[in-house]
Assembly symmetry: C2
Homo-oligomer: 232 residues x 2
């Protein structure tokens, strides 16, 4: 591994100068609130301005917007993983799963940036994706137990959870501060439809690969670097 790798939370092979480290921390903290308030489409310039640093400082530390996003949401993903853990500790598997879904959707409502991050995948952000995978493993267990307990419909799949994130992101993004609790109703409805016994069959879930492609596409058009013009 390249010893100069600096992003994410590695303790740095080449420690930053003290002022640089301070700025780095302020940038992440500020970006967290800005992305949380304005969504992922908040501009790099607005983050720099609110953090009180120059644009160049921001880009030297995070060469692309995607890297900043990854650094900022690493800790949200930790919380996500923690939520899975809490759910797995619940002696009632259904209660655990339902609580997990409510918790995560609440996180989406509280952070417009995270709402979108959950519907995207950033292959270059290893730390972020590792956490996503950890969470996935836990979710699979959670689902298995809830089915075994007879409380979750048998045709539920992990992909359905992603669909919940996408649907909830749609509601949260559309309602914003104007109807800040609307998502709760939607989530409650979805949960009732997940509970066993199923009221009827469902169309097939999307292929995991297809869903991955969708999440990838979304992240790419998020930080679309201006590709050089090419002559035809």
């Amino acid at each position: 591994m390249d010893p100069r790798a600096r992003s994410s939370s590695a303790p740095a092979a080449q420690p930053l100068r003290s002022d640089a480290e301070r700025n780095r921390a302020r940038i992440i903290a500020t970006a967290r609130t800005v992305f949380g308030r304005d969504g992922l489409h908040a501009s790099m310039a607005s983050v720099a301005r609110e953090a009180g640093v120059g644009i160049a400082t921001l880009f030297r530390r995070f060469p692309t917007k995607e890297e900043l996003v990854a650094a900022v949401f690493a800790d949200r993903m930790d919380a996500y993983v923690d939520a899975v853990g809490v759910a797995l500790d619940d002696p009632d598997p259904w209660h655990g799963l339902a609580g997990f879904i409510e918790t995560v959707c609440a996180m989406q409502a509280a952070d417009y940036g995270f709402a979108d991050v959950l519907t995207m995948t950033f292959p270059t952000a290893k730390a972020l994706e590792k956490r996503r995978d950890q969470a996935y493993d836990g979710v699979v267990q959670l689902i298995g137990r809830a089915k075994a307990a007879g409380r979750l419909r048998e045709d539920f799949t992990p992909e359905d959870l992603v669909l919940v994130h996408m649907a909830n992101a749609g509601v949260v993004n559309a309602t914003g501060d104007a109807a800040p609790d609307a998502w709760k109703r939607v989530v409650a409805l979805m949960l009732q439809s997940f509970e066993a016994p199923a009221r009827g069959p469902l169309p097939d879930p999307p292929e995991p690969r297809a869903l991955y492609k969708a999440m990838l596409r979304a992240s790419q058009e998020c930080s679309a670097s201006p590709e050089p013009v090419r002559k035809d």
Copy 2:
């Protein structure tokens, strides 16, 4: 009514020159496919290019992007109103409502622009909003009948339908062509949660006014005209 009103489908007080009328029709037809394919954020320039007209021609006929959007989606709104009519003609109120929701969500999946239009409101586009109101009246009836027949949960409100549109728009936008049928599963789940008897209570629905504000906000940030800079 202003006899000079030109947009929407009024037969025109001041008829356009034949070539202008032809271009106008081509612009609308092209914009329909472009917005349907790329969503509402497709650029005016791309519409002009694909329609084979100059940018100026486009803007002379539709002075703002919002007016073009309104003109383009007037007929989708007709289809929306028609779908309500079909549902009301169904002798089985629940079957009618469920079919209506499926139909409209399918329209969202087939037209990324319309998916967003259904979650927004354009106060200046009278023709569009009139149709939306017509549809709303029908939907209220539809809901009433389905409840009366004992097939729809008693706490269902017309606002829930808007929430369905928002959630479905989220799924459709996030999955795109990568998982083109994922929305069907989500909609099927939602429908099962709507069916009586309710499996449990729900959080309160959003206030109609609040939801309106949310839809308004969305439409405004869609075609954000560059406001003049002001000195502090």
